[in-house]
């Protein structure tokens, strides 16, 4: 596979590293374009897939049918707001416990899991209360 470096891939990785909101390919594209105006959306997608396949980043599949990406590989869960679609991290200690419990109940072999919480974020709760 031999992952080289490239200005574009590094820029994507860089952008993703300092963002904590797990942006979509589109958002990443819009932002990296500020630095590399000629970058194409295809390049963004190709690199995100490449990085995800090599375990450098995580791909999150959510209810909004767009993929989101996360450069933080530490075990943690996510919360998505049903109102605005924003995503935030949730760090719980249940990781190993959950996986162990699930492994006991399953004849197969479990190698990982994802948890998504859904609900309403603080700013969307405000809006609701005002209405």
């Amino acid at each position: 596979m031999a992952l080289n470096h490239s200005r574009q891939r590094d820029a994507i990785m860089d952008f993703l590293s300092y963002r904590k909101d797990h942006p979509t390919a589109e958002v990443i594209y819009d932002n990296v374009k500020k630095v590399y105006p000629k970058i194409s959306l295809g390049t963004v997608y190709r690199n995100l897939t490449l990085l995800a396949d090599n375990g450098v980043i995580r791909r999150l599949r959510t209810r909004d049918s767009k993929d989101h990406f996360d450069a933080d590989l530490s075990p943690h869960y996510h919360f998505m707001c049903n109102g605005c679609g924003c995503i935030t991290d949730i760090f719980l200690d249940h990781t190993k416990e959950l996986e162990a419990a699930a492994n006991e109940l399953t004849p197969g072999m479990i190698t990982g899991h994802e948890v998504f919480f859904y609900g309403t974020c603080p700013s969307c709760m405000k809006i609701k209360n005002e209405t």
Copy 2:
């Protein structure tokens, strides 16, 4: 919204009720077509969306980028095989506990959550060992 009945919708619901493997719209279409040969894929999609929006069934978004549907509304989690893509149920008691713990850490309001375990199912493990 006023959900009537219709032969097609009832057939979809019926099929989904006795299947435990959370089929995709395509699979549901192929099967319901045996009973209603003229049913269209659009009808299947429209009804699945309608049923999901009315809380009669659950829509599962997975790594395979196809939606899967589940007529079992009881709180439970899912396991998906990375090999063949099959999905099975996992019943754990952690539901309330997890959500309570997450709610403490989040300024927003959590109303539900989904857990997906990934790994290798028994039959795919066999195949691996034989190779």
